[in-house]
């Protein structure tokens, strides 16, 4: 059995204290940036779309 949990104190929970952000459009864009991923969209001949997620890299090819 794995043991010894992460040592950060667990956050106490209080009802209503932790609201979820609900502004999806802004969240989606900022999340992708934070995640270090790039998105490219390709359309198929039948109209469906493919979302290609690639690692964002710097000029030397390292993950940003």
């Amino acid at each position: 059995m794995k043991s010894e949990g992460r040592e950060e104190p667990q956050r106490p929970y209080k009802l209503g204290q932790l609201g979820h952000a609900r502004t999806m459009s802004a969240e989606a864009d900022s999340f992708l940036h934070r995640a270090g991923l790039e998105l490219r969209v390709v359309s198929l001949t039948d109209g469906r779309r493919v979302f290609l997620y690639e690692l964002k890299r710097d000029g030397n090819g390292n993950k940003v």
């Binding site: 794995k2 992460r6 040592e7 979820h20 999806m24 989606a28 995640a35 469906r48 493919v50």
Partner: protein
Amino acid sequence: MEIRYNPLASEWVAYSPHRQQRTFLPESQNCPFCASSRSSEGDIPVNEFYIAVVENRFPSFVLNAETPQRPADVPDYLNRPAYGKCEVVVYSGRHEDELCDLEIPHIADILRVFAHRTLEIYKHPGIKYVFIFENRGKQVGATIEHPHAQIYAYPFLPHTMTHEIKAFKLSAQKSGVCFGCKQIEVECSKRERLIIDANGFAPAFVPYYARWPIEVHIYPRQHVGMLYELDEPGFYELANSLKSLFSALDRLYSFRMPYVMVIHQAPAGRRKDYSYFHLHLEIYVPYRTSDKLKYLAGSELGAGVFLNDRMPEDTAKMLASVIL
């Protein structure tokens, strides 16, 4: 395509007859999810890719759903367009790479893609719930071998989530404590059903109330309702636990273990507060021994009562013994 409401069960049923024609266990050379250089039937027209998301060729829910004919005469019979979205998340361009074969950063990126797709899909008005799951193995209904997850965006809150959300809310109102946070605390201290709790891992345990012969729940330590709210360590901890657990399941009976993995996130209601909900993953394995499958039968299907042949504490011991 349409959805019909079952008033006796308080749930919606989706009808999509065209899915009878869907691709069924194709040979690897005809795999639709391999990069197009490897397959003539490819859904992904690039020579290589990291993680790809494809709109499902045979969806049960679509954004341009047609309005079905209203049922006549019986006022209790309700139907609606099968409005929504179905996507497939292909973990990598390599046909052989199961989730547990991938590197931890890659698995963390798959979780980030899940998070991003969830946010993107909720941009469409009328989507009430985004549900992410993986069926691995034909024993649990997978029809394409290439490792992938699926995203279903429903125009309603599914039955299971309605109950779960209500239970989280009631628990928080009664005790002032999140049920997920409480479970983490109890399971990590009692350790009877604990499987994974190492530094750098999200806690994984067999729930006290497991329905399946092998059932594992994974909770992030952070109290968040949705994937995108996880911090950087949170994504890595979940990825670590998934790799560790799925590798262990493959070791248990010395074969690639079929499973269903589901992700329970809070809904994204703008007007409602779901802060009492704790994001978690649930994994169900249908094998009760190395050569016997658990089938859902009379009690489970007809009465909703699961019969489990093994105590959760014994399942946890068995799984903990194959965790490296």
